[in-house]
Amino acid sequence: MKTPKAAGLTRREIYEAQQRRRSVLVASTSTVLAVVALVVLVPLTPGWDKVKRSFFNADVLVDTFPKLLDAFLINVMIFAWCAPAIAVLGLLIALARDAKSPALFPLRIFGATFTDVFRGVPVILTVYLIGFGIPGLGLPRPWNSPYIWGSLALILTYSAYVAEIFRSGIDSVHHSQRSAALSLGLSERQVMRDVVLPQAVRNVVPAQMNMLIALQKDVSLLSFIGPVEIFRQAGVFKSLTANFTPYVGAAIIFLAVTIPATRYADYLMAKQMKERR
């Protein structure tokens, strides 16, 4: 006997379409309720008018936004030279930690100490210590620039994390790949370079994307040692206008960058999960 069909759909397809419509309805209703609650209830709070004036002032936003964008270029610049340095140093540290030859033992110790220290200290502290400490040695210009030493602090800290991610990537390559490569006569180094690393790096791209996003935000920590990047600039405007809206403007700019980047990292991660299965 044939299953009854309506509009060319099977019973199951009709059922699934019903279910889909139901869940869309439920989801949109609850979203609308939540938004209404926010929009209606928050303004009823006693301090709302004050908050609105000092955080969501449209005039202040329009006035300061272009300058904030300019300042954000400094963040982008610092990010642009830190990121490649972190990738290279992180990879070198990862390789140093996995070095097998006894001659390279000091390198292993160095790698392990490096990651322990820089993962163990809050970023802001590293930025302070290096960013104030080294110029404090009385170096001549331009070597006393906070840009250099602040960037170095970020590079050191992030390299430690990035190295650990690379290491997990190296571990994730199945040992049978090593066996196969060795059996062909490749040396340990060649196996690492031609067979293991390319796969390891590919496996950790999504995780490293998340590090980049975190770095983009942490560039703002350099404001504490001098550079007038977006956070510092927003602070200046706050003082000038006696209003917190510039901070909201800065947050908007950050989100405009980090949300797409986060979405993309999640997409890569999901894609990789699917490929693994």
């Binding site: 066996s179 196969a180 059996s183 006569g185 031609d194």
Partner: protein, 243 residues
Amino acid sequence: MAKLDLRGVVKRFGDNTVCDGIDLQVDTGDMVCLIGASGAGKSTLLRCINLLEPIEDGAIYLDGEDISVPGLDPQGVRARIGMVFQSYNLFPHMTALENAMLAPRRVLGRSRDDLRPEVEALFTRFGLADRMQNYPDQLSGGQQQRVAIVRALAMRPEVMLFDEITSALDPQLVGEVLDVLLMLKAEGMTMLLATHEMGFARQAADKVCFLKDGKIVEEGPPETLFGSPKHPDTQAFLARALK
């Protein structure tokens, strides 16, 4: 003189003696099959020959040269001995052609242009001419395994080791891989293989060795070993395997 000559090879993992004094000769141009139950030590023996595992005792000679001397650089030996694994182990980030050219380029220092004609000829010979530019995940199991064989052959090895290379394949793909072995045999390749394909061993091997608990219990030409096995363990194993 045997091409490959194993004398009293012992391999242990901790307290577990996996190869327990193995004597085995493989003559030039011969196909020798290792049979035996799971865990008998077949894979481990092959890995020892390719110096992927160090041996505890005994010696392994290739063309009369002791290749098991502790401290010997294994690279030169491995370049002369090809190995193919049960799970193909192709490099997933390279095309089939790049898989096959990597080792000759890196180990023998040959250029892509110089290699290409002969590697392409290998692909063509084993029915893979239109698959060279594919990545491993775009190939069937049988195709991947044939690429793995081509990859090993591209090094022009003197001996080939095969570790149950058809065990991971769907039954209808086994034949295409076994055919490759027959072609190699016809060309005079020296081969040592661990296999569960009793029919194939019986038909194609020059010598069959039955391994149990890390020892060669019985060996001989396939007619004798399959036709009239002498040792009770061999008889029991074959009774189960040929059922």
